[in-house]
Amino acid sequence: MKLNTVSARICGGGILCTILLLWAVGLVSPVTAAPTEEFAEASETVERLHQKLLEVMQQSDTLGYQARFNQLAPVISSLFDTPLIVKVILSRYWKKLTALQKSNFIEMFNQLSIATYASRFNDYNDEQFREVSKEVLKKGRLLIKTELLRVKKEPIKLNYLMHQKDGNWLIISVIANGVNDLSLKRAEYAAVIRAKGFDGLVAEIERKIEQMENSNE
């Protein structure tokens, strides 16, 4: 149920009321968690991604698409928890796949992520990344809020949902100006699977990767 509806019923609605309610049920932490050693490592993960993105943007005059792809590949492959990401995206379809289909899909999705970053971060206009705050979530997950600062343009809010796997902090979701890549893909992939089946989806994603390669040549 919508929080606004709940708040409307309990105390007549309004943003203040909604916030009070959220606070009362513990969903909004009144104090942002103090940055401990542990969370510094999580920040480092995001900083490594941002640093690499800045590097390829700044060298965009000399680096072609393939060179950007090659530079980004090791960073993205090691900083994102792709197996968990695809499991969440494919949701109930995931269990119907064979082990081989699963591992192939994880690999293809990783390629898609790298290709998307390589294709989109293709020029540099004095952009900067800045960490804004951290928020501790349920089950030891962490949300790191950052901004991509642009000259004469509104900053883009980039929020990273993180979790710990084998002692490393990994990114499990990126939310750009409120739009969460994970639910976007979940909705899209479900629609494609319904219309064309799982093989159809694989073909579509392969086509996307190829398109990005070709349009950036």
Binding site: L3, N4, V88, E135, I175, V179, A187, E188
Partner: protein
């Protein structure tokens, strides 16, 4: 049919349509009020989506591209400023309706400064003076008041919407001074506004076309999330995507039980 009566007919249609849909809003909790909710009107929505996409591909996009190519950025910014400013009464009213008194006052001064010193809104002099532009509309106000979202609605020509958002079509039309000018001025301005708006979105749509494997679902999901972002003024609750990971954990436990 002359321009004036045609304009009146179009506006009346928008008003009747949006008030009619408001009747469909209810405060009862609905299953459609969470992200990933079923798309009850999918068949009709997809039909109109395909219609709009075709209209865009063959008419609007090519015109906007040419417009963007030949219009200096400074002129384009001024045109965007002008139309944002003239539509700003709707923002002010909704700031107040949501109880954001300070924001409403700052928005009022913003409108005053940009309309006068900013020469009819062509120049945004208010932002550097510490009076930033806000994004409010009646759909956001209804959300703050606790009205449920209702079904996702893809409208011909107008594009993505929700039932809760349709009364805003009326309020933004009624509060826009352009609604009351003669058709001979109204239609050319409307055309410029649409072409300029579309040109401003060329980058966004090219990113969408590059990224999406299903354009319709991508547009729907991105629109619904973007609305949440605006309703909560940039800080929507995390519950929805936290829930996605919870689902996974639950699924795993089901598997173990099996």
């Amino acid at each position: 049919m002359n321009n004036i009566s045609l304009k009146h007919k179009i506006i009346s249609l928008i008003l009747i349509f949006s008030f009619g849909l408001l009747g469909g809003c209810s405060t009862a909790p609905s299953k459609e009020d969470y992200a990933g909710a079923p798309d009850r009107l999918e068949l009709a929505n997809r039909g109109f989506f395909n219609f709009n996409e075709a209209l865009d591909k063959h008419l609007l996009k090519p015109i906007s591209k040419t417009y963007a190519e030949f219009t200096p950025q400074l002129v384009r910014t001024s045109i965007t400023n002008f139309f944002d400013n003239i539509a700003y009464l709707n923002v002010i009213l909704n700031s107040f309706l949501q109880g954001k008194i300070d924001q409403g006052l700052s928005d009022s001064v913003r409108l005053l400064f940009n309309s006068t010193i900013g020469i009819g809104g062509l120049f945004d002099v208010a932002t550097p003076m510490g009076l930033p532009e806000h994004n409010e509309d009646f759909g956001q106000t209804l959300a703050v008041w606790g009205i449920n979202r209702g079904s996702y609605l893809y409208l011909p020509v107008l594009g993505p919407n929700t039932i809760r958002n349709t009364p805003d079509l009326a309020s933004s039309t009624l509060l826009n001074p352009l609604t009351y000018v003669t058709g001979a001025i109204f239609f050319p301005l409307l055309a410029i506004n649409i072409i300029n708006l579309r040109a401003d979105l060329l980058d966004e749509t090219s990113i969408r076309d590059e990224a999406a494997v299903d354009l319709y679902s991508f547009t729907r999901e991105a629109y619904l999330q973007r609305r949440e972002f605006l309703i909560y003024d940039g800080n929507p609750p995390l519950i929805d995507y936290e829930a996605m990971f919870e689902d996974e954990l639950e699924d795993d436990s089901v598997l173990i039980i099996e």
